[in-house]
Amino acid sequence: MDKLLTLWEGSGLYNLELGQLVMVVVGLLLLYLAIYKKFEPLLLVPIGFGGILANIPEAGLAISALDQAIAVARPAVLQQIASALGATLDPLAGADAWRETLKLVVGNGSSPDQLRAAHDIASFAGYSDGLLYVFYSMAIATGIAPLIIFMGVGAMTDFGPLLANPRTLFLGAAAQFGIFATLFGAVAMSAMGWMDFTLNQSAAIGIIGGADGPTSIYVSSMLAPELLGAIAVAAYAYMALVPLIQPPIMRLLTTQKEREIKMTQLRPVSKLEKVVFPLLLLMLVALFLPDAAPLLGMFCFGNLMRECGVVERLSDTAQNALINIVTIVLGLAVGSKLMAESFLALETLGIMALGMVAFAIGTASGVVMAKVMNIVSRMPINPLIGAAGVSAVPMAARVANKVGLESNPHNFLLMHAMGPNVAGVIGSAVAAGVMIKYLG
């Protein structure tokens, strides 16, 4: 009978908390969106599955050895940990009260030395870091995974349309207004007492408006790791929703006549220009904004491998095998941040709402900028391609093309929209660099 009881007390059903149950449902919802609705499946499948894994009761896949030991270890081990942390445990209180005390002590006010000692005790007692925790500390906390993905994106990006018409870079710049307007929105919400975001957190939320998954993960891992789960989910979910969010805004801000504007054929771009461009961009980053160097440096490196034409094997690996491996690890690591304690908060709803606003403002400012440029310059610019300035490559460009075709079935804007689209990637990486410089 006793053994049966132990088995029952060790079961997931006995230990399941309401929050965990809700998070498992959230994970299943993400999987549903990814599999049936095709929302960025490459990321949302690993993220959703990781979210479910992270919330399996008692398994501790997403927590460190120390947290795991505090949650389930025998009282003797707890006492050892307490002495390593310099905490005192009330001998009269039960083991459950000790666990609470230790959690608080670990959460705030332990020196790195004490934590390391406590971690060693936990490892010695046979507890190990959870799989997802290892993925997180290896891939995201170090910043490596988003950077490698950025290298792959660089290796997949063709700067030809941008080089043929460099002015479209302005559209990519204008669309970044979404990032900063959202940052200000988050700050304003905190000032009015609706939410409680610090400046760092607001910046990390704003970067959702960059519509660039790796950039948002990179920035939030540096500025606000506690919000990373919600931010990454919002960023990827809204990237998938670009075809739904953008067209109404684009139609609202343009007239039928503007949507019918035909653009002149792009000039051919020589190979030498394409080889020199990543190096030129790298030099400018080195000169003006070294804080964006990790992101844009890897991006330029990937692009150089693609364009130089002598390292096709490396370029191929960066675009395919490597980016796939890293995507799996990154997705699971983001999933580890979907733990009930941190995700089920009012803030998450705020982040979701702000993320949507960020996309909308970015789209609108890109379109408005294109209209302004149309007044100034002689070469006609179809305002629809301004919406492609939010990165979301190549989805946003396809949306611009599609809305253009609705107005004039013979007007193909895809190549023209690729210019602002890749400019948006550069723009959001620069914006990320500014934020890291200012707040990091």
Partner: protein
């Protein structure tokens, strides 16, 4: 008091960030345009070399075609000769 400070910081970061993004991309536009012009001047238009290649390649293929044609007709001829016997 603290709230207004936060707002102020947010506003400052917004202006600074947006300004910097624009300045950086403007510099990029200028330097890309310069780079394209320079390359256009020192390297003759890529179209010329393209046409060269295209004029060369059909000649090569037609040459090859002639050779294969000869080989095939020779083979057919031989086959027919063999059949006649």
């Amino acid at each position: 008091m603290q709230d207004s400070e936060l707002l102020h910081d947010g506003l400052a970061l917004m202006a600074l960030g947006m300004g910097f993004v624009f300045v950086f991309l403007t510099v990029l536009v200028v330097s890309v345009t310069l780079m394209s012009k320079l390359i256009g001047r020192f390297q003759p238009a890529p179209i010329a070399s393209n046409t060269n290649k295209t004029t060369l390649s059909p000649a090569a293929t037609s040459d090859q075609d002639g050779e294969t044609l000869a080989v095939i007709s020779a083979a057919v001829h031989r086959y027919r000769m063999a059949r006649r016997r």
